[in-house]
Amino acid sequence: MISVRNLGARVGAFHLRDVSFDVPAGGYGVVIGPAGSGKTTLLEAIAGLTPIVSGDISLGSRAVTREPPEDRGIGIVYQHGYLFPHLSVGENIHYGATTDTTTSAQEVTRRLGIADLGDRDVQSLSGGERQLVALARALARRPPVVLLDEPFSALDPKRRALARREVRALHREWGFTALQVTHDFTEAGLLGDVAILLDAGRVLQCGAPDEVFRRPATPYIAEFLGAENVLAGTVRVLRDAPPDFIAGDQSPGTLVPADLASGYHALEFVAGALKIYTVGNAGSGPAYAVIRAEEVSIARTAPATSARNVFRGRIMELSTLGALARVALDVDGMPLVAALTARSADELGLREGEQVWASFKALAVHLC
């Protein structure tokens, strides 16, 4: 496992402050954050390549805070590979190999599809090939912990998918703990067991990727993670309504068992002309509502739906990106964005300027 507690590090004017998180043994952590948020510094601090000013690092059951990099049992892969330019591809891959790891070096090169690059000069490799060789070099030693700094960024989509699949498979088979920096939210969702959101040297949120994506702790995180509907407004607890309950249908007036209700209330969130119904444990007062665009459905006529939030709005902008369509609505002066498949948009015959119905469930609304 990787356990980081109150980690502080300084590189020039940049500070990593009070960073804490855990990636369980054999888990796959992903670090997400904007450029300059300290992602690489964090990996280097864990690797022992950047001196830390405070905190503790444990890898597995060992406290390694004061151990040199060569004794930490880690492999690191940088975005730019850092292949040794005076050595051939094969010599790079076998740089840290021992007699015990020759087989794993051969296996990893075969699985990453670079077995035939052995005699090549690293200067002659493409950016993607270099990343694969750097991956093979780090994995060949079978370290218990692997740190990956955007290792797939220079790969074409086909090779990226292959490399991602193979790294994930090796991770499962060999049981190493991984921590990967990525800008790709899809990658984070596909690979990660734990997502760590970093900004300006601090951890903003840490948890299961689905939890971080669906329940961002702040509007900033929501926007950073690509949530298109982040609305500022006011929450009002509907005290006159019975406690609502998020798991299953309940007839009005049904008493919800106390252990299931656990503080959840029916809430009304008002943002301009929009009155949004939701449930949660927030108190009355100012808040932000986050609704992911893919949670918003569009219909030509008023839908007969269980969704509690149904609005009529005008299509202000309709854009398609491959098989996806993005529909920006104006609902009584408030913007609302829906994401649907291009085929759905086509079948509905959506046109800019037309009036349509938008709906989303109360549970699709996350307050922060």
């Binding site: 280097e44 690797a47 022992g48 390549l49 040199p68 990099p69 060569e70 930490r72 880690i74 492999g75 690191i76 940088y78 730019h80 590979g81 850092y82 292949l83 040794f84 330019p85 005076h86 740089y95 840290g96 690293v122 200067q123 490799l125 950016g127 270099r130 070099r137 780090a138 030693r141 370290p143």
Partner: protein, 273 residues
């Protein structure tokens, strides 16, 4: 947004500035090349011939080559660790050391010779110890090496520091994570990647050592290096006798120039990929 084209009077000013700059550069280039070209033209052939017939010149060339090589090897052995320390340390202490290293380059070389005489002369502490150990400095090849080392080692350390600084620390970091201890990283990664810069700095140091006169003439007039011999021939016999020796020295200095050019045109090895 496109910028407006310069107005005609401004264009004329730019043209005049360009012409003046080109003229100035040409004058400087001519000033640097003309004396050397003249010397080689007038004394090149006789200089080469003199190497064959003039035993003093042959001896001086051999002495110069050996002492310059000795000084360079000593400078590389002792200066390389210092250069690495300076390249990898960001502290006021390292900055102060780097500044001190520049001092020998700034003081007049006869003054450097006098300073060395104070430290290594027969009456000095170090000089007397060396004498007791059978290593006389003043008036010996060791004095020549000391003078050469003093004036040229800072050039090596400065160049080597740059060569190490160009090696991205992440190469070293990756090697550490692959199991290497720091000394092994130095041997397997840092030195190979900095090698070209280190060799180039060594060549510069050697060339500077070969051309040294001021400090050597204070410490060791005899035996004579080529630079001292050319001065001696000039003061004793006049210009015509000095020209072949001086031309031989110029031709000797072409060797490091060629080596440097060869090194410069090789591909760079210290980039991230």
């Amino acid at each position: 947004m496109q910028t407006a084209p310069p107005t005609p009077p401004r264009q004329a000013v730019y043209r005049v500035i360009s012409v003046v700059a080109a003229l100035g550069s040409s004058v400087l280039l001519l000033f640097l090349v003309a004396p050397i070209a003249q010397l080689v033209t007038r004394g090149g052939v006789s200089g080469i011939r003199a190497v064959g017939v003039d035993a003093d010149l042959r001896g001086a060339l051999l002495l110069t080559a050996l002492t310059a090589t000795g000084a360079t090897l000593f400078g590389i052995l002792t200066g390389t660790p210092l250069a690495y320390f300076l390249a990898r340390t960001r502290s006021r202490g390292a900055g102060a050391i780097a500044a001190v290293l520049d001092l020998p380059l700034l003081i007049p070389h006869p003054v450097a010779g006098i300073a060395l005489l104070l430290v290594l002369g027969r009456d000095s502490l170090a000089g007397s110890w060396l004498l007791k150990a059978g290593l006389g400095v003043v008036g010996t090849p060791l004095g020549i090496i000391a003078a050469m080392l003093f004036v040229s080692a800072p050039l090596y350390v400065s160049g080597a520091r740059e060569a190490f600084a160009r090696v991205d620390r992440r190469f070293e970091g990756v090697a550490r994570t692959l199991g290497d201890k720091p000394w092994r990283v130095m041997r397997r990664v840092t030195l190979p990647l900095a090698l070209r810069g280190l060799v180039a700095s060594g060549v510069v140091m050697w060339a500077r050592a070969v051309s040294e006169f001021g400090a050597i003439v204070i410490l060791t007039y005899n035996p004579k290096t080529v630079s001292v011999l050319s001065y001696d021939r000039f003061t004793t016999f006049g210009l015509s006798e000095a020209i072949p020796v001086a031309a031989a020295l110029v031709l000797f200095a072409v060797i490091p120039l060629v080596v440097l050019r060869l090194l410069r045109y090789e591909r760079r090895l210290d980039q991230p990929w």
